[in-house]
Amino acid sequence: MLDHTTKEISQRKALRVNPAKTCQPIGAMYAALGINRCLPHSHGSQGCCSYHRSHLTRHYKEPVMASTSSFTEGASVFGGSPNLRQSLKTIFQVYDPDVVAVHTTCLSETIGDDIPTIVKKAQDDGIVPAGKWVIHASTPSYAGSHVTGFSNMVKGMASYFTKESENKVQGQVNVLPGYVEPSDMREIKRMVREMGLKPVVFPDTSDVLDTPKTGEYHMYPKGGIKVQDLVQTGSSEHTFALGQFSSLDAATYMDQKAKVPFTLSDIPIGVKSTDRFIQGIMDATGAEPTASMLDDRGRLVDMMTDYQHYLYGKTVGLWGDPDQVISLAEFLKDMGMKPVYVVTGTPGKVFEKRLTSILKDEPYEPVIAQSQDLLYLHQLVKNEPVDLLVGNTYGKYIARAEDIPFVRFGFPILDRAGHSYFPTVGYQGGLYLLSNIVNTLLDRMDRDAPEERFELVM
């Protein structure tokens, strides 16, 4: 397994090996699926769209719909305007979405297609039916990562729908949940509601990418933020933006455009980041967490102390998307574990800065790296092995090669069930995440224990 990975850490200037990121448009497609009755549209050649749909499908085991401009060589030279016009015509007549959310690829970005102008012309020419929306985000694959693409599409939603409004609706708040699972979005929505507020959550992929089997297929499932709610985002009292990489741009935009102030906090994974999320809501709105939320919190801390002897001092290598990894590292630290290698493929110095501050008082030197890949992570592990790996499915090869316990976390998870149904955010999500971590370590102890040390009660 990965037999050619050397212990010596390679100094690579040009070659990326086993990336810990993918490209922008898949994030934009995922975000767009969080709008009710929206069809994501990929303005590029059709291979991208097919790959992005396939990969999201492999992760969710659910239908993932999107259309494409299907560029040919001619369009690639002369511009993709006719392809987008034809697309819109066919899409609205055949598939009848309320919103088409266009994102771009490296192809259309390199040739410089001007989407707003093309769409405006299509609207003027009656290709876009009255009352229907075409929104867009520029998502060049050669900048940032899929997280950037997600952020760009969320900002695109704000820029098309958010209007300045004098009349703020009391108790209504915008929530940008960040690039998290449908189950996480559902949980975040539940928490905010439980605090007595009316959350406008966008994007919201719950009830889109986790639909029930009833024998009926719905091209547009019941979930997703409705357009009528998106246009109300300017009337909200406050915006809670989760995850700097995923949500800051959209929150900033809404503040500037519609004077909706915002609180930026981490994606609430673990105790402290969930505490900060709730404190942020309290500070901005005066709402209070309920007794049942405090009970959830107490149960999570209870479990952390119940199992501390399996966790204390264990070294962890983790990788993934920056917003998640920042919070997760802090959660692991709070369990008494040592996140010694923390890697993301997504570029951004904020990642290193935040993690350095989170881990600054730890009695070891963690390796914190942005714009890095899994070959690098594997080489770190070869030099100094860890007790646990936490990251997406691609880590299973390292876990097997080095025989290290492995917890799947983040995007994408292509080879296990459950990740899209059970949240990892909030206190309840913490219970699920923690039980995964503890049970993975216990399974390993059972596997490795000599017979006379094999125990019934652990």
Binding site: H4, A14, N18, S50, T68, E73, S141, A143
Partner: protein
Amino acid sequence: MSDLKTCPDVDLEEFIEETVKVYPAKVAKKRRSHMLARTAHGEEEQSINANARTVPGIITQRGCCYAGCKGVVIGPYGDMVHITHGPIGCGFYSWLTRRNLFKPGADGKNYSQYCFSTDMQEHDIIFGGEKKLKQAIREAYEEFKPNAISVHATCPVGLIGDDVVAVAREAEKELGIKVLAFNCEGYKGVSQSAGHHIANNRLFTDVVGTQDKPVEGYSVNVLGEYNIGGDAWEIERVLEKCGIKVAATFSGDGKYETMTYAHMASLNLVMCHRSINYLAEMMVTKYGIPWAKVNFIGIKSMSKSLRKIARFFEDPELSKKVEEVIAEEEKAALEAIAPHAANLEGKTAMLFVGGSRAHHYQDLLRDLGMTVTAAGYEFAHRDDYEGRHILKDIKIDADSRNIEELKVSPDPEKYNPRLTPEKMKELEEERILKHYEGMIPDMKSGSIVVDDVSHVELERLIIKLKPDIILSGIKDKYVIEKFGIPSKQLHNYDYSGPYAGYKGAVNFAREIDMMIHNPAWKLAANPFKRKPLLSAELGSQA
């Protein structure tokens, strides 16, 4: 030939006319030419439009040229390092997602678990990425020492004018190993198909025939077999049992070196006609090695293919051995599938798969007593639908004109006709050599053929024809299953396999039976019925 049992009330012509009515007028006209109902008696030849531009916005299953080249044909060579020259996505999505299994050879070289990319950034788009590519090739060589390196261009590479061929040529000189460059930008052609052609051309000009190493005995190459889920290994097991040696497989479990002397084998067996027929044809012309179309999917077609090979070699000993193997393997396989076939008799299936399986699997479904009600390819050409005899009538349209057609002539030294011209002609007339009859003639009257099926067309087919199972890909699988109809992925076999050969047929039968008869399907409907409180008073039937 009988009409279909399961949907006797469906007027297929009318269904097709109504289906295309959902589209804008121009699109309707185009799509009409990509569909046909097999005629009542299936006698006259029917023609279909294929390998044409995808309608923008229609929701196609298709991928791109890069996928056809890197993902399909070249990627399976596991002892090579394949570098994607582009932003990160293309390399990432084609990393371990096609199940072309690979076991390293004696040298232990195995890069199949890795993804290599130049991860182009904005700077590279503006100032060009050639330097970075050259450096990446160097780093790949230094770090991994592969047997060869390939470089695959992606969409922006062609636009910014990076000359990947020139970079590869320089690197090859510097490093002393083969560096193959492919101009497989995603926008080329109209589908994966262009990528197959581009891959074939480079393998033919730069790899095949670069080393002369005698191949002993009854030797064959298996072309267009990608070892999904271990298919190639099952095929090889049976061939070797018959005493037939596989010199090279293009490209399942492929090793770079085996390609270099593939021209020394006696016969090319073409499994996936679409992806590899170019190489097969060019090898006949240049080296005199004939090719035969085979189908190793299905019990009877496996046996038929083995008999074709025996007929070619014309050796009574070999023929005897082949018949012995057929008798033994067929018996075991038929016994093993019998309980499943009993459960599946009369069930209906639809197939929408890339460029060959939509046809190949019809033989296997027939072995199980199942009926095909609809089938289509994503990106096959008319010859795959109608048979190779229509090749002369195919016009290459503007979208595919830039895919290079190589001019090939016999090699002055290495041309070695395996058969006399008379024998060659005889076997061609027997349809052993250079013959592929296509999918349409093999389909029953009362079935539908749809090329490049769209989402709305698939939905309408499901609702109208109510198949028992649909064999398709990952993007469709869960759409179909939400309808309550099982869908077996015929690209990746739902992570199972092999499905080829005798043992594969048994695996397939067991899994199709299991899927169709899985008790969970019956749980989908809402079991809770509110008692109609007023029914007694109103006398309602509810």
